[in-house]
């Protein structure tokens, strides 16, 4: 029961208090890109959630070894990229062997779902705030769910924000940013404070 509570509370923090997109702006461009098509949302969410959850579990053990070292933090990007790369190749091989149709569909944008700020940012945040392996896993899982929430909110508004009612200069990317800003403001009010980097 304690384990489930630890995972859920870390996930809730990651979804609402430190949402990767609305509070940290990690992977805003990927979110905007993924939110355009419903099929992209599910693909990106599965990719990001699987990656952040599995990678978080692995990095817990490496963080325990690296963080006590004086210059351990300097090696963290190399190690995190190496872990993500191994998981990326493993996932591609898994799909290629067992689900060739899915592989053919996702191979064009798989790298976008894996090599982005949302995934690597979640690992760095975990190293700062995570305490035990369950909070690491919960935070990773919550990052993926938070990404899904952001995509969903953007997808709902996408049609209206791309319509003729919006001034030409704002249509598309600029108004999307303003819209994310409005939601970010709502999260700011919900939490009552903002993260201090």
């Amino acid at each position: 029961m304690e384990i489930i509570t630890a995972i859920i509370s870390a996930a809730m923090v990651s979804i609402f208090v430190q949402n990767a997109i609305f509070e940290r702006a990690f992977g805003s461009n990927v979110t905007i890109y993924a939110s355009r098509k419903e099929s992209h949302i599910s693909g990106f969410t599965i990719g990001i959630t699987a990656m952040t959850t599995v990678a978080s579990a692995i990095t817990y053990f490496l963080d325990s070894a690296l963080l006590p070292l004086e210059f351990g933090w300097l090696l963290m990007p190399v190690i995190y990229v190496a872990i993500i790369s191994i998981l990326y190749i493993s996932a591609l091989l898994f799909l290629w062997r067992l689900f060739p149709k899915v592989f053919a569909r996702v191979k064009k944008y798989a790298h976008l779902a894996i090599f982005n700020c949302t995934v690597i940012g979640a690992l760095f945040l975990n190293s700062n705030y995570g305490s035990d392996i369950w909070s690491y896993i919960g935070y990773g899982l919550g990052t993926g769910i938070g990404f899904f929430l952001a995509c969903l909110l953007l997808n709902i508004a996408h049609e209206k924000l791309d319509s003729d009612k919006i001034p030409k200069a704002f249509r598309g990317y600029p108004i999307m940013l303003v819209y994310i800003g409005v939601i970010s403001l709502a999260f700011y009010a919900l939490v009552g404070y903002t993260v201090d980097f």
């Binding site: 990690f26 461009n29 940013l177 800003g181």
Partner: protein
């Protein structure tokens, strides 16, 4: 006669194809962390060092390698380049660099390195690429400084730490204001280039009509 194709220096990366304002790439450091001019300087310097060195080094990676492997190598090289960059920044700006370190760390997977290299930089000769990528990085720095200066003035009433006036909007340092500001800059940039394009297409039409009359 030499059969070599020449590539003129293109300044589109500054505004017309600015990676933040038009492509929406590498926005996180600017939206969240560029809250003062000094932070903007740290972010610009780190972005320059990590991205530029990685782009130059990764040029030697053979194109015959599959894309999946190339992209991994780009990210690994960037994360190795991060080490001297972080040490230098810690030496030059000890406090500021550490306060935005999270946003420097995530630059190792930035889209200028992972995407723009494949779609643009590695399709042109080395010398042109060296200048072209520098222009794109300068475009990033311009936006970072513009956002950092405005937010510092509004939040703290200072500029590079020097008192200018009273702080009129302390919430300007929050991420939501960063989203608003970058969104407004993107719209302004687009409006300017839309108007310029309309004028450029209208002028020959006007000349043709005058000539006919």
């Amino acid at each position: 006669m030499s059969g070599k194709k020449t590539y003129p220096i293109c300044f589109d990366g500054l505004f017309r194809q600015n990676i933040v304002l038009t492509s929406g790439l590498v926005t996180a450091p600017i939206i969240v962390a560029a809250t003062t001019a000094e932070r903007a300087a740290v972010l610009s310097l780190s972005f320059f060092m990590i991205s530029y060195l990685t782009i130059l080094i990764c040029r030697v990676i053979p194109r015959r390698l599959v894309y999946t492997v190339r992209i991994i190598l780009y990210a690994l090289v960037a994360s190795v380049v991060f080490i001297p960059t972080a040490l230098l920044l810690e030496l030059l700006f000890p406090e500021t660099a550490m306060s935005v370190m999270l946003y420097i760390e995530i630059i190792v997977v930035n889209s200028l390195v992972l995407a723009k290299t494949e779609s643009r930089f590695y399709l042109i000769p080395f010398s042109s690429m060296a200048i072209d990528s520098l222009v794109y990085i300068a475009g990033y720095a311009i936006v970072a400084f513009a956002v950092g200066i405005i937010r510092e003035l509004l939040t703290y009433g200072t500029l590079f730490g020097f008192y200018v006036g009273s702080a009129i909007m302390p919430a300007a340092k929050s991420p939501f204001f960063g989203f608003f500001l970058v969104g407004l800059f993107a719209a302004a940039c687009r409006a300017y280039y839309n108007r310029r394009r309309e004028r450029e297409t209208a002028e020959p039409e006007l000349i043709r009509k005058e000539a006919e009359e």
